[in-house]
């Protein structure tokens, strides 16, 4: 961790204006949760968990993580200002790790906490659902952030590629082709929540050992390769 890099990244990523705009995403989730809660009859608990899984873990979390993960480094690489970080006697792992921590922080602030609140609104402190979604969202944030940080270092089109992954692969293909769900950060995150909540309340396409190990692998792999890519980052392609 480098405090200066963290500060710079934070100010770039979460400026007041951006924070205001970004918070619209979790606000939608909270508004939906409030509305559903306000319905006279209320939702059945399994309906509530479906809403939390698809809207919270399946949409808000990846979107926020995408914006924070790529925003933590891709913007600087794009405009070239990353040179001021790279032309310093600082280990590349330190730079990536710091960016990662900031990205995760953003995702916690704008996705994990709101998802937890939404679970509290919809279900209440019952049957371990709130804790389950909090943990799911947190591990999901750890996985997504690493993945999207890597994308930010690897490609100039990180946001597009990330959106394609989230929308096409996880939502669309994952919804239609069961096998594709085995390779989805969303399902891996839910596999953790599945174990925390009471039986049958949250369902994931993979078992906990598979989900947890794939999630860990992707996070470590993502960070490792991000460091390697940053080491060989070429800044000459600007002419």
């Amino acid at each position: 961790m480098n405090r200066t890099i963290a500060r710079l990244t934070m100010r770039g990523l979460l400026s007041p204006r951006r924070l205001l705009l970004l918070s619209l995403i979790p606000l939608v989730l909270l508004a939906v949760a409030g509305l559903l809660r306000g319905l006279a009859s209320g939702l059945a608990i399994d309906e509530s968990t479906t809403v939390l899984a698809t809207l919270g873990i399946g949409t808000v979390l990846p979107l926020v993580a995408l914006i924070c993960g790529t925003g933590a480094i891709a913007t600087e690489i794009d405009d070239g200002s990353v040179v001021y970080l790279l032309a310093k006697p600082i280990g590349r792992p330190t730079i990536i790790l710091t960016k990662y921590v900031v990205a995760v922080f953003g995702a916690v602030l704008l996705a994990v906490i709101p998802i937890t609140l939404a679970a509290l609104i919809l279900v209440g402190a019952d049957k371990g659902v709130v804790l389950a979604f909090a943990v799911s969202a947190l591990v999901g944030a750890l996985g997504y952030s690493a993945l999207f940080l890597l994308l930010g270092v690897v490609t100039r089109h990180a946001v597009v590629v990330g959106l394609l992954y989230v929308l096409i692969w996880e939502s669309f293909v994952g919804g239609a082709v069961p096998g594709a769900q085995a390779l989805s950060v969303q399902q891996w995150s839910l596999s953790v929540g599945e174990k925390v909540a009471d039986d049958g309340l949250i369902s994931a396409a993979v078992s906990l050992p598979v989900g947890a190990s794939l999630l860990t692998a992707v996070a470590l792999f993502g960070l490792y390769f991000a460091v390697q890519r940053l080491r060989s980052l070429t800044l000459a392609g600007e002419q």
Partner: protein, 305 residues
């Protein structure tokens, strides 16, 4: 005292060769890297700054490879060509952040010294987003100087500067050079390089075309054959008078365009003689234009030399 050594370095992108078998040594003092746009100056600077791997050959800083070696930045100050900085910071915050990133114990003091050096105190607390190009350039300089490096690499530092800012930066770089630092800057403008650099390396089309102090480079550039297009009241009479003069090597009478194409061998002599000859014969000169004065052609000539 720090020396940058470029040893038989080539760099290609796909099948485009940007730098072609270049060998040079840059020592203390101010060195100008001169060449037209696209000559490979930036590519070379990027390799020296450790942001690009040579395809072949080695680039070293006092014997240590610059590629994938973060330690070199303890000794290098880098002034990139691109404008992008952390625009949401003030100039002071930016320089302080750079000082912290260099791991300096007293970042605030180091930053203040650097800001004073580039004379940016008056605007240090304004956001960088509000800066003019010249101000940005100076803050970039401050951020590169903040750790007191022995090497300063600057990519086209004078671009977009007004004459006063240019002069100030020149003074600053001269001072840095006189202090024994190794200062290397790139430019495509001969006059800039000539005014500032005690040593010049010329790059053309990826090749190392010439090397020497500015007098040597200047002579190479001035002593080459020059071509002129001249339109006058009586082209034929002017041609016959000029061919008798020592300063010309050949004259073509272009009847269709009504001009003379003159090959001059003595640049100074010819430019002095032409108006004299014209006046002696009572011939009016309508147009005298050098046909190959573009920088490109000057450099192309140097490559052939």
């Amino acid at each position: 005292m720090t020396t940058i050594s470029v040893d038989r370095v080539s760099r290609w992108f796909g099948n485009v060769v940007a730098v072609n078998d270049v060998t040079m040594t840059i020592g203390p003092g101010v060195t100008g890297l001169l060449g037209p746009n696209g000559a490979g100056k930036s590519t070379l600077l990027h390799m020296m700054g450790g942001f690009l791997a040579p395809s072949t050959g080695t680039v070293t800083l006092d014997g240590a490879a610059t590629w994938r070696n973060e330690d070199i930045y303890n000794h290098i100050g880098l002034v990139p060509e691109r404008e992008a900085m952390y625009d949401f910071l003030t100039g002071r915050e930016f320089v302080v952040a750079n000082a912290e990133l260099f791991g300096l114990p007293n970042a605030g003091f180091a930053a203040q010294t650097a800001i004073d050096t580039v004379q940016m105190e008056y605007a240090a607390d304004r956001k960088i987003a509000t800066y003019s190009k010249g101000m940005r350039q100076r803050v970039k300089m401050a951020s590169a100087l903040v750790h007191n490096p022995s090497v300063l690499l600057l990519d086209e530092p004078f671009n977009g500067m007004d004459p006063r800012q240019r002069m100030h930066l020149m003074d600053l770089l001269r001072k840095m050079g006189a202090e024994g630092r190794t200062v290397l800057f790139s430019s495509h403008i001969l006059e800039e390089v000539e005014q500032l650099a005690h040593h010049i390396e010329v790059m053309v089309a990826g090749r190392h075309a010439a090397s020497g102090d500015y007098r040597q480079i200047r002579r190479l550039m001035v002593d080459r054959p020059h071509r002129y297009t001249v339109r006058s009241g009586d082209n034929r009479a002017l041609a016959s008078a000029l061919i008798a003069d020592d300063s010309t090597a050949g004259i073509e009478l272009d009847l269709r365009d009504g001009v003379l194409h003159i090959q001059a061998i003595d640049f100074v002599g010819f430019t002095r003689r032409l108006p004299q000859v014209a006046r002696e014969r009572g011939i009016r000169l309508y147009e005298v234009s050098p046909t190959d004065e573009s920088l490109e052609s000057v450099f192309t000539y140097l490559v052939g030399a």
